[in-house]
Symmetry: C4
Subunit: 250 residues, 4 copies
């Protein structure tokens, strides 16, 4: 199957901006987009499964199950601003092939809904952070770049790994403009503080009025999901490796 | 080829339940389903090969050969209960891509035979087990959950790896209801005791009358298969790795 | 591409036996089949390339190049015996997916030429060999087994890795009969002595009259090929790993 | 997608020679072909993306982005010589499957433009280099070989890894003639000196008059690209591995 996309609804959107929020360094994108979904009037319109996601299921507190999954939400602006497509999920793909496939599918869906602009979010891993973390920007074009640096972001110098980087590159090739916002983070824990620095820039750039007071709710939810996936309890990893060896043998 | 399915017979089944029993932690699922196949009147109706299975053959005591293989059996209830589709085999797929493909194929076959309910079985690895091992349950829905916990199972909290987890997740996405039963196990040896705790719950849930007195026969058979695959004799592993290096080089 | 097969000629063959001789443990199969190609009147009728072969080329002494390659030869019997299809090459596939694909293609070609019987050859790695190495047999069926053990082979107990094992398993699934011959070997060097023990059994089973006096010619040729692939000079391996890292980065 | 090729223009070329210049050992090919692109009148006519390239984007000094990419340029000779197709890029594919796919696509494009001759360039890694580095040649055929050794190259003995080797092998299978030029290099840094020894041979073989005085410009540019990809700063690698583990988990 590679990528299986289920689209529940084809919304009519006004020049929408695609915002990527999959788990990555410091889970900044994940927290920021979950907060947008919580605070804005949004509606889930598509879900994506990929055979490049991990082969497991996670249990919830009540014994229910949760699969590796990506979701697309839309938000219709009420103040005449641009509509949003929010790409949220609990995983990226495990292989580069899967990553390209996933990005290609999402770009196609966004194009069909009239989008030609995308924003990706990420953490920029640092050994230590002294003072306020910096926010950096990389962009598909100089004009967009100057608009974003006007909000106080620095110029990103380095590699942007995974979906956050790939989307800017592949988007550009398909005629999208856009930018990537990255924030200094230790990257070891879900970094609500990082998201707190990213969201005001989204507010300004997109004319949103998202409050930050309930940001910790999103951060807590992400933390819980991570724990259920065994990410924070490192021990689970070791077990998993053993299990994969079992599978290999028989 | 990825997945090659050969179907010998398309049985007419009455609202059948799909039971997954591939090798996994403690080989609990493998032992339990082999015991069902031994004790119930069952018939093999399909076999599945995948290029995501290992590339070897195993010899039997008489010099015959046995390939990595999955099989589907059916059982027609005689007491008006639900029929069964039993998924048995000597391997899971080696790659996540192969795992998704395999699950997808089996779900399609089960759907075509009228199944909308599935049960998966697994071990829940523990460092040590004091007293009677616990049996846990995770489910696609609350109603099923409460029916299974009524038989004394606890709520599963954690990750369910491999096919046992994937099937509950992918099944749910395709409209199946069902549950996963997991039992505390050390996981280092084929765990007949774990299977002995799982089977009474299947008996109750499915109105089966499967006796457990000959369970050791199934456990011994699984143990023999594992030995022939080199799983229990760890040394074979090292050799295998060397051989793979050879293949890589020339 | 995965597998690209080029067939130069479709020979008319009399009930041919497919003999597999790719590089494996001790390179016994490789030496034995090259000797058959050298001694019998054979003709190359097909070549196979796979994107699961390694991505390199090897230079010959004169600066020419040699690619990872599989070849098929045929031999027409002159004494009314069965014709042969000999599968020779300088590599197996690097992935299990590639291995299944390769076997599937060769089985299809052999079927189209009327073959329903196959022989694979391999080494059975031992830490030490005291006295004459044993030759073992595994077979698709009891009748074939008893015919081969009549020539003094023991019953193989264990795993048969790679193409030699896979072909017996996949062949059986497609209605081929056949057997695998394995000989004790240290496996660290091209083992002409192993081939010397395998070939008399092929002579008897197939009514061939292949002399063994020039076997060292084939063993030397295989050794040269291995050296050019860097197999025997272990140092090349380390370099290769570095190079792969380079490729990964940029 | 695997390989996505975008062709801007289909030039009419006179018996063109395909020159491969992707990053490899010592980045000799990369520097040499970038210098050709800088010095000759060339035009970019195609770009190639592959899902076997790495999943990241690189930022430029101004915050712009650069994706893993291959490009094809053409050069029309003004002195009645043969035209050129130059294959340049910042990456090879990460998997052997991707490498075969990439080579196959470029060979097809080159064939369609009338090319039947190719040249690949590489470094031949040495622990230490005393005196002038040697230049080696491997060729598809003896006639080409003798033409190139006439320019003072030695006969290559060994393996040619990656695209440089694969193209000579796969090209030969598709009826291309050609050769690979390799130069002794430590391989740890972009080796302008290696390129300085390769280019005079291309000048002679192809009747080009490319000056070498500005070669350091190309070497510096390659070095900058490598630094942006984190190749020279080894620390980035470690981070990347951590990030990949993150992706694996959630």
């Amino acid at each position: 199957m590679v990528c299986a996309v289920e689209i529940y609804e084809k919304p009519k959107l006004n020049n929408p901006v695609l915002i990527e929020g999959l788990p990555g360094i410091g889970f900044v994108a994940n927290i920021a987009t979950l907060h947008l979904i919580n605070e804005l009037k949004t509606r889930r319109f598509a879900e994506i499964h990929s055979s490049a996601f991990q082969d497991l299921t996670i249990t919830t507190e009540t014994g229910g199950t949760r699969s590796p999954l990506n979701e697309l939400y839309y938000h219709k602006s009420r103040n005449g601003g641009r509509d949003l497509i929010i790409w949220y999920g609990n995983t990226q793909a495990l292989t580069t092939f899967g990553q390209y496939e996933l990005c290609g599918r999402v770009l196609t869906i966004a194009e069909e809904l009239g989008s030609k602009f995308l924003i990706t979010i990420g953490g920029f891993r640092q050994e230590a952070i002294n003072g306020t973390p910096n926010v950096y920007c990389a962009s598909t074009d100089a004009e967009t770049m100057s608009r974003v640096t006007a909000f106080g972001t620095k110029i990103m110098v380095g590699q942007i790994f995974g979906i956050a980087g790939l989307m800017v590159g592949l988007g550009k090739l398909r005629g999208f403009k856009g930018f990537s916002l990255l924030v200094d983070t230790l990257g070891t824990q879900p970094d609500a503080n990082g998201a707190r620095l990213i969201l005001p820039i989204l507010n300004k750039y997109l004319n949103l009025n998202v409050e930050l007071s309930r940001l910790d709710v999103a951060a807590e939810e992400i933390k819980k999901i991570l724990e259920s996936f065994g990410l924070i309890r490192g021990a689970a990893e070791e077990k998993k490796k053993e299990e994969q060896q079992l599978r290999w043998f028989v």
